[in-house]
């Protein structure tokens, strides 16, 4: 809840970006830093993926987790990336190409960029002080993150229960790294880590599609994806589903783009992203299989060259996640539905209701129509002749719907209901929707290009920013600038209209429980605050030995133990404080609301 904690998270995420940038430079390289700017989001997610994989391996090998381990792991991965880059002959990038300039944005682009920036600012503000109310975080994610933070491993045997151990540790490891960076297990500020994940996802999505999809098509769909109520409500929860979706979505997109342009680095980055997705949640395995199935179907016409590559990448991704599975098997933990893998055979009556529930959820208004729009866009791509894209998206959608339905069918503990307490269908479909979301603008761009009998040119610089000059360019930049300054300006000006902040941010701490004694009739002399009764008792004993015999202890409203003298007459309070200070206590006068 402190500036220190937020600063720690900023540093942590810069480290993650640096790790991912090193890996990306190794597998791809770039000639210009201006090119890297566009890929920074992808680099960040690659950093998340690489660290997740290595840190999980270290947990399996019983290497104690801690700040030193995290930094050593980050350094190791970064050095690995640099080594691969050197072996592949990557050159040091220059600042920017000759005659390169930042194209002036159109008013439309500026408006959408501003909207996306405002969304992220509003999200940051509503996330910063969010209490940890997510029950799954208590049970699994943050429980294990705290365990890793305090004990360096998954904890004493009694703490690690079969129901929670079978969940992969990826998110908990990233949370634990967050605790290390924040300087303590601050489960409130921890939510900001999920804000960073979201920013990385948006940056990766925009960066990968910017050269392929005109901004007039791309940005409205980025905005739509962000404001879906089903996503916007959960994006900052300390849960694994959004991160799982980001990794599978960008991994799947990279796999599809690899089918298009056959760039090896895309397949390599997809392998890392999909491999790590399986270490974030158990459903990651099903989702990765859905992505792989989509790639196989989409590349049917080129199966001779494509399938061996897809098979190799899938095999490596599975191998990256395998140590955790082996660890589970070795510790005798069941990783199956509570009723068993084959229990669905005993409950055939659940099959159709499960499928119906998933389909109803896919087209539920909580996705702001994106489920239906995705189907339309993919069909349009298919009709437009882009069979590969249509086949990829529709196969993934179908496989993911069937996979989700199968999970619900198999797990008899799930009721056939959208209620979050009894069925995770909304979170499962959230991942499906986020994975197909990047394919929507890509499909529409294809349909647009092929929608003319003569065919239209690919995305041109003119589509991104024709030669605009003068007032319109100034206005476009002003819109973007205003979006970045709106929240800081509202805080400085104290204006809270239009859902703005309207004041300086608070950084609450236990000190807020201290009530100043100004003009109070009922006061108490506080000798100090302690965290434990042992410390409080020691202070009390010292006070009594100094003649302050009426010293007592009570729990305050901020969870601390107050060592104090109660019922002090206002007239003599100042004298008692002086005497206590003379005896070496940090005494102060406080208002006593209890009288």
């Amino acid at each position: 809840m402190t500036v220190r904690a937020i600063a720690g998270l900023v540093v942590l995420n810069l480290v993650i970006l640096g790790v991912g940038a090193s890996v990306l430079w190794g597998i791809r390289g770039w000639r210009w830093w201006s090119a890297f700017l566009r890929l920074a989001g992808l680099a960040y997610l690659v950093g998340v993926a690489s660290l997740t994989i290595l840190l999980t391996l270290e947990v399996v090998l019983r290497i104690p987790f801690g700040l030193a381990t995290f930094l050593a792991s980050a350094t190791l991965i970064a050095m690995g990336g640099v080594l691969v880059g050197a072996l592949r002959g990557r050159s040091r990038p220059g600042l920017r190409p000759p005659r390169w300039r930042l194209g002036p944005p159109s008013l439309l682009t500026a408006a959408f960029a501003a909207a996306i920036a405002l969304f992220l600012e509003a999200l940051f503000r509503s996330t910063r002080l969010l209490p940890l109310f997510e029950t799954d975080a208590w049970w699994v994610w943050t429980l294990r993150a705290k365990t890793l933070y305090f004990f360096g491993d998954l904890g004493p045997d009694t703490l690690v229960r079969a129901t929670t151990l079978s969940y992969p540790p990826g998110l908990s490891l990233l949370h634990a790294a967050g605790f290390e960076a924040m300087g303590g297990p601050d489960t409130v500020t921890l939510h900001l880590q999920h804000w960073f994940f979201a920013v990385g996802f948006v940056a990766a999505l925009v960066g990968l599609l910017l050269g392929r999809v005109r901004t007039a098509i791309l940005l409205p769909f980025v905005l739509l994806t962000l404001v879906m109520p089903g996503f916007a409500d959960r994006v900052n929860w300390a849960m694994a589903d959004p991160l799982l979706a980001y990794l599978v979505a960008i991994g799947g997109l990279q796999l599809y783009l690899w089918l298009e342009d056959r760039s090896r680095w895309r397949l390599e980055s997809a392998t890392l992203l999909l491999g790590s997705a399986m270490l974030i949640k158990r459903e990651g395995l099903i989702l990765v299989l859905c992505v792989v199935a989509a790639a196989l179907v989409a590349s049917w016409g080129e199966r001779r060259w494509a399938w061996p590559c897809v098979a190799a990448a899938s095999g490596i991704a599975l191998a990256l996640a395998a140590p955790w599975r082996i660890f589970l098997a070795a510790t005798g933990v069941r990783d199956a539905p509570t009723s068993g893998y084959l229990s669905f055979l005993d409950h055939p009556e659940r099959a159709l209701p499960s499928l119906r529930l998933v389909l109803e959820t896919l087209f539920d208004p909580i996705w702001a129509g994106l489920g239906a729009i995705a189907v339309i866009a993919l069909v349009l791509a298919f009709v437009a002749g882009e069979r590969k894209l249509g086949a990829f998206g529709l196969t993934f959608l179908a496989a993911s719907v069937l996979g989700s339905a199968f999970v619900i069918w198999s797990e008899t503990a799930f009721e056939i209901s959208q209620a979050p307490a009894v069925n995770p269908v909304i979170r499962m479909v959230l991942v499906t929707v986020l994975v197909v979301a990047p394919l929507v603008p890509l499909s529409l761009e294809t349909a647009w290009r092929r929608g003319s009998p003569a065919g239209a040119p690919a995305v041109t610089r003119a589509d991104h920013g024709r030669s605009r000059t003068g007032a319109r360019v100034t206005l476009a930049w002003a819109i973007i600038g205003a979006s970045l300054l709106l929240y800081p300006a509202s805080m400085a000006a104290g204006y809270s209209g239009l859902a703005l902040a309207g004041g300086a941010p608070r950084f609450p701490g236990p000190d807020e429980c201290v009530l100043p004694a100004t003009d109070a009739r009922n006061v108490r002399v506080v000798l100090g605050y302690r965290e434990t009764y042992a410390d409080a008792r020691a202070l009390t004993a010292r006070a009594r030995a100094s003649g302050l015999n009426a010293t007592g202890v009570s729990l305050d409203d901020c969870g601390r133990l107050r060592v104090f003298l109660d019922d002090v007459p206002p007239g003599s309070a100042a004298g008692v404080v002086r005497a206590a200070r003379a005896a070496g206590f940090e005494a102060s006068l406080e208002r006593d609301p209890d009288g």
Partner: protein, 177 residues
């Protein structure tokens, strides 16, 4: 496999806009569908964003209005108070148990049976297990500390020294050996 490291960067973005014929600019059915889809996405997106500003503003104000302890414990209003053990007792326990302590959690059948008991108990236990770390929950009878949620204290054979209690039946104490 083809290595195309700089493919996207070096792709010529401009491909002769001047030579686009007027017929190419006409909206065919596919392009019309694309336009309608993008317009729909834009309208839904902008409307959703306007709603979200209000939602996020309300949440930010709510989060800011919580006390330090509300925030540290989690937001009772978000999940319903049945899931949270009485805060005062937990606070006393936190201040009493050393950090390397082991404790047991025992539930009686009548603890907060207003909601489905199984879930209430599991959530409550899950919260304590998470919140009290690095103090560790144990199923062993040797654990010296006990949270008794309307449990049958006779199994503790009169050895439980109660250190804190709530009105609705939670006892926290130490088992004397």
């Amino acid at each position: 496999m083809v290595e195309t490291t700089e493919l996207v960067d070096e792709r010529p973005l401009h491909q002769g806009r001047a030579r686009v014929r007027p017929t190419q600019r006409a909206l065919g059915p596919l392009r019309l569908a694309v336009v309608l889809t993008v317009v729909a996405a834009t309208l839904i997106g902008v409307a959703g964003l306007v709603d979200l500003f209000q939602v996020y503003d309300t949440r930010a104000d709510h989060n800011s209005s919580l006390s330090y302890l509300d925030r540290a414990y989690g937001d009772v209003e978000a999940e319903g108070p049945d899931l949270w053990p009485p805060r005062r007792v937990v606070g006393e326990a936190l201040a009493t148990m050393p950090e390397n302590a082991r404790y047991r959690i025992l539930f009686g059948p009548t603890w907060r049976s207003t909601w489905e008991t199984k879930w209430t108990d599991e959530f409550t236990e899950g919260f304590l297990r998470f919140f009290l770390l690095p103090r560790v929950e144990s199923e062993s009878e040797e654990a010296p500390w006990v949270f008794c949620f309307a449990c049958d204290t006779s199994e503790l054979d009169g050895r439980l020294r109660v250190l804190a209690r709530s009105k609705d039946g939670l006892l926290f104490g130490r088992v004397e050996r």
